[in-house]
Amino acid sequence: MAQQPAVQDSEVLRRHVAAAGSLPAGIATACVELLFVDGAAVLLMADTERRWHVAASVGRWARELEEAQLTVAEGPAAEAYSRGGPVLLSDVTAQAARWPGFAAVVPAEVRALFSFPLQVGAVQFGVLDLYCCTPGGWDGLRLGTALNVVDCAAGVLISGVGSPPGDPLCWLDDLPGHTPEIDQAAGMASVQLGASLAVAYARLRGFAFASSQSLVAVAREVVAGHLRLVDDDPWWDGDVGQPPIRRG
């Protein structure tokens, strides 16, 4: 796809992840820079316990906002996660009535709130919340930038599963979720490996990296039945229980 802006965004993301030393913190600070928001927070769902935790928060009200949402167990973040699509509130005061519990606890300073699920199809990691202290909607360009950053973040979260070799940000060129063959191949590889979808994506990426091919090219081979991933990649340590956080 023609995505020139996305390349620049991914560079900003790469820089912040390296500087912050953690992916969630890097995502949050990158969003503040790229999207001119007053704060950002990353909520991750711990896979084993199905429990939320605030993995990163940047901005004066970010932590309070997330703790409020976790306390009442409802609000835009929970809805974005369960629906699998963003929840965009250009005016929190006007729209928070959808979640009475949330309306009662959201910091008054948070006037606009944009919640994006961090996901690739059925693989869900958590939610990215972005807020502004003045109400106002986003134009298409700004929303597009946010979506690109969110896609990059989800792609990196997936590639962090099981720690495949190479730069975790190396695959920002072809993101899962944009080319049907990549998602089909992940489904096929998960069956062939007897592994989760997240692991399958990471393995496809690892194979593409190790064989100096694009992810799309590898995916097409898998879908065509010409390539079958096997369970003996030397770099694969089988450890999938780690939180998907990369150290810089």
Partner: protein, 243 residues
């Protein structure tokens, strides 16, 4: 059954779907298949304009790469892109005669056996959500009635994606579009799982998935999510002729 009766029946069925709790991708799949049955075209697809830039395929009459690649090619040039940019229908009865407008697209389309292409906008007031793409294997114009029917079908698709007739907030459009795009990703993942489990192709995997969901009155995306997240055993979806 006459063509008019069939057309009326199609709209009655689509309208029925819209009042119930329905699955967008499933509805749009029905819709593109109806296009081929009703109109003088041999392939159809729905493309959404993505807020990220470019377009993404939400439904297609075939999973064949010859068709999908043709859709994807229009990220850079083609009638569909022009239709989305202008918000008006782009009708090309004879692609060879107008090859100068989109040389790369015209060449690729011809190579894949298509001679005509029509793109009809999916519009909400001034906002263009995407386009319905119709391909024919022979040159020929759509009749005036077919142009009207295809616009009506594209309008149904628009209503289906937005899932409500009055849009209170402009943001709802973006919310619904992005949710629909993610549904499509979940379905691709489930197709992959079914294809590898059953040793079948992607088209067959999709048919099984839709048949299973339909047979049990489940939403297609929910069923796909169950398969993709390991809650539903793929062999259960594969057994039985769900058609």
């Amino acid at each position: 059954m006459s063509r008019e009766t069939r057309l009326a029946e199609t709209f009655v069925n689509l309208a029925d779907t819209l009042v119930a709790d329905f699955d967008v991708v499933d509805l749009l799949q029905d819709l593109v298949e109806e296009c081929v049955a009703l109109l003088e075209v041999s392939a159809a697809g729905l493309l959404l304009a993505d807020e990220r830039g470019g377009t993404r395929v939400l439904a297609s009459t075939s999973e064949e790469t010859r068709l999908l690649e043709l859709f994807q090619l229009q990220v850079h040039q083609g009638p569909c892109l022009e239709c989305i940019a202008t918000g008006t229908a782009v009708l090309v009865p004879d692609l060879a005669a107008e090859a100068g407008r989109w040389p790369q697209f015209a060449a690729e389309a011809a190579q894949r056996g298509f001679a005509s292409v029509h793109a009809v906008p999916m519009r909400l007031r001034a906002y263009v959500l995407g386009a319905l793409n119709l391909f024919g294997t022979r040159p020929g114009a759509l009749s005036e009635a077919d142009v009207r029917s295809s616009q009506a079908l594209a309008d149904v698709a628009t209503i289906g994606i937005l899932q409500q007739r009055t849009i209170a907030r402009g943001e709802v459009v973006a919310e619904q579009l992005q949710t629909a795009l993610n549904s499509r990703v979940v379905i691709e993942q489930a197709k992959g799982i079914l294809a590898a489990t059953g040793g079948i192709g992607m088209d067959a995997a999709y048919r099984q998935l839709r048949g299973y969901a339909r047979n049990r009155n489940l939403r297609l995306t929910d069923t796909a999510r169950s398969v993709a997240s390991g809650v539903l055993n793929p062999t259960q979806v594969l057994t039985g002729p769900w058609r």
